[in-house]
């Protein structure tokens, strides 16, 4: 009897808190709708409205912002994707991010930045339901999407990711890892310009290649440290290279459980 009364009392205490959060969220959503949809609103004012709304960490807010991940401008999508990654502990956010990740409007090179921030946010939320998408994205052709997925795998920390990460490590330690990473968003070929003082065409071509090498990184330079860090985060083991890791994993794999 006393236990039931205590339970009811505790339930009564918790009820006002959740309804207040919901009320706060509703008020924030109302303000957002007024500001975001205001006639003549500027792009920057819309961004500010998004930042103001995302300060309220509630699933209703996530449900209002998530659809914009597939139809707002790219800067807005990037901001929304980043902000939703801060909704740690709020149920129901990860599926919204996964849905936006798979949407065709975020495909290809144009949507790369959005996919990167979504993967980063999925890592922050540490949601097990995101593992399949994260693991698949480790082998994405785009190096930055791959890196974001590797980082996310290291944060989510599930056993299934280890095989994927080791395979990626073996790949980039080989010749594939020499591939250069272009820094600009929409890659363009470097034109053959007039390199002062160099008349020889072959030498000029070589200097253009040298110039590009100076200004870009290799995939190995970008991904190997991330892969090492992710593997260490999941396994709490340190390996020198892929061969070392493979050897250790062969011994531990059958009974491995992710340590705390």
């Amino acid at each position: 009897m006393r236990g039931a009364a205590t339970g009811a009392f505790l339930a009564l205490l918790s009820f006002p808190a959740s309804s207040q959060d919901s009320k706060t969220a509703c008020q924030a959503i109302k303000r957002f709708d007024e500001e975001y949809g205001r006639p003549g609103v500027s792009p920057d004012e819309r961004i500010k409205a998004i930042l103001e709304l995302s300060a309220v960490k509630h699933v209703k807010v996530a449900q209002v912002l998530a659809p914009l991940l597939t139809r707002a401008t790219f800067p807005e999508r990037i901001i929304i994707g980043t902000e939703l990654g801060k909704f740690v502990g709020v149920e129901g956010v990860s599926p919204l991010l996964l849905s936006a990740y798979a949407h065709k409007s975020n495909e290809k090179e144009r949507g790369r930045g959005v996919r990167v921030v979504l993967l980063k946010s999925l890592g922050e939320l540490k949601s097990p339901c995101a593992v399949a998408v994260v693991d698949r994205s480790v082998e994405d052709k785009d190096v930055w999407v791959s890196k974001a997925a590797i980082d996310a795998a290291g944060k989510i920390r599930v056993k299934s990711s280890v095989d994927i990460l080791l395979r990626a490590l073996r790949r980039i330690e080989g010749p594939e890892g020499d591939r250069r990473v272009r820094l600009e968003l929409f890659g363009s070929e470097v034109p053959a310009t007039d390199v002062l003082g160099v008349a020889d065409e072959e030498l000029k071509k070589k200097q253009i290649q040298d110039s590009e090498k100076e200004q870009t990184s290799s995939e190995r330079d970008v991904l190997k440290p991330a892969l090492q860090a992710a593997l260490e985060s999941i396994t709490r083991h340190t390996g020198a290279n892929s061969k070392d890791w493979q050897e250790w994993w062969r011994q531990k794999r059958a009974k491995f459980e992710v340590p705390p």
Binding site: I47, K48, I79, D194, Q215
Partner: protein, 523 residues
Amino acid sequence: MKDMTKFCPPSDTLAGWVEGRLSAPEQAALKLHLAGCDQCRRAVALAATLEPAAEAPLNEALLSRVVSASRRRPLWRWAAAAGVLSALAVSLWFARPRAPERVVKAPEPAGALAQRPPHQVGEPRIEVSEEPPPPSPKVAPKPEPAAPKKPEAEVAKAEEPKPVPPAEPAAPKPEPVTPPVRSAPGVTGTDLATVFASVFTVDPSGDLWIQRGEGHPSKAGAFETVNRGDMLTASAQGGAFTLEGRATVVLEKGAEASVYFFKPDKSYELSLAKGLVMVDTEGSPQNWRITRGSSTLAFSNVVGRFSVEPRGEQFSALLLEGRGELRAGAASRRAEVGREVTSDGRSGGRGETRKKGDRFAELRPKSSTVFLATFDEKETERPFAYTVPAGRPASEGSGQYLEAALPESESTSTSSPEKGTLKVAVKPEHPIGFTTGMVLRFRYRTTAPSFVLNLGEFSHVYASKSVGGRWADAEIPLAAFEREGVMMVPVVNSVPDVRFEAPWLNKNSRLDVDGVQFLRRTR
């Protein structure tokens, strides 16, 4: 000589009055002007206190000067006493050891707004558009040096010598001062420069001209320093410019006005000669004092857009949008959008806010400079403060530019060249807030096929179009910069510095940079 009865004379003429250098006709004309112009009378009264300490008690000497300068306008006792105290404060401050010169600071960057908690509302409105950028203006040749400025000295607020109703709040107390060490006496035009400060104009558009003193008008360049007495005009069509990156000023066809900074009130002064002039404060609260002959009207803490135009001997002001306090004549009140007010304090009818707003949008510069470094300015006269962490100044016929140097640890010998990176960097004093549509514009000359630009942590590889050692222009939207696959986004990201890096390939390798400019689109 300009008609001194109607329009405020230049600083030199006022200095001549104080020093007794004017001819009889000039004195007579100026006397007539001073009788009706509170502003010039105040300036003369302040400057006239710059002399060795008199044998007589200082307050008596100052009181007699202030009273004689305001001969035609009776002063309330308390206003005179406050004026004396202010003049005393001024004289004591002038004798202090010199402080560093005023540095015009860039307005708070928009990106900084995103650093505030999201719950703060009512941020200044930022206007942006998707219109294509105007053609890159040629940077004006180095402007004539302004009158040498004295380093900044604190000037106590000068009191309004007009009679006010007893219900008005008491005059503000003069700022406290420390006992001075008197320097050499004497009144010159440069002393008046401590009261009035020049301003700089950028982003001229339309048909904007500048007449300096008695000289011939010249077309306004991309960056100009404008002194008190310099007249801005728009003849064949309207003209406009950005004032110190803080406000936009539009002159309708045929308008003439001068703009400068009045230090005692920390306000911009618009001296209206003729025609319609419109001002937009671009979201930041500002103080504006508008004068025409002996008529004065002031906007305090105005955020928004207003217009002024002559009405016979008077002029009228109209708040087109926004808010602010308006003081005309003896009255001070909240400005009402759409309600015209004349400089003698009378309310007029409803003004043509929409028509003027449309005309403003048509004439205003389509982009405004948020930051500009031409490397020609003296460090103490830079419109936007910055430092140069990498690169060294170099000069040629068209002015100064920055030349990349290899870091000492990477320097090479001609006999056995090694690899290295040529670097040039510019660091604004304040991070530049990124707003939608903002672009980076610069001039460059390089032997490298491409070079990397870094804005903080964001990068962009730029393919060079510089051929044969010639200068080329570049314009890159900030949205093209990225970090680990993610583009820069407005409001959230800001620009702490700009770094240019090119590979050192051989002994002829070079990277030169000039005219670094961040432009914000206007809507």
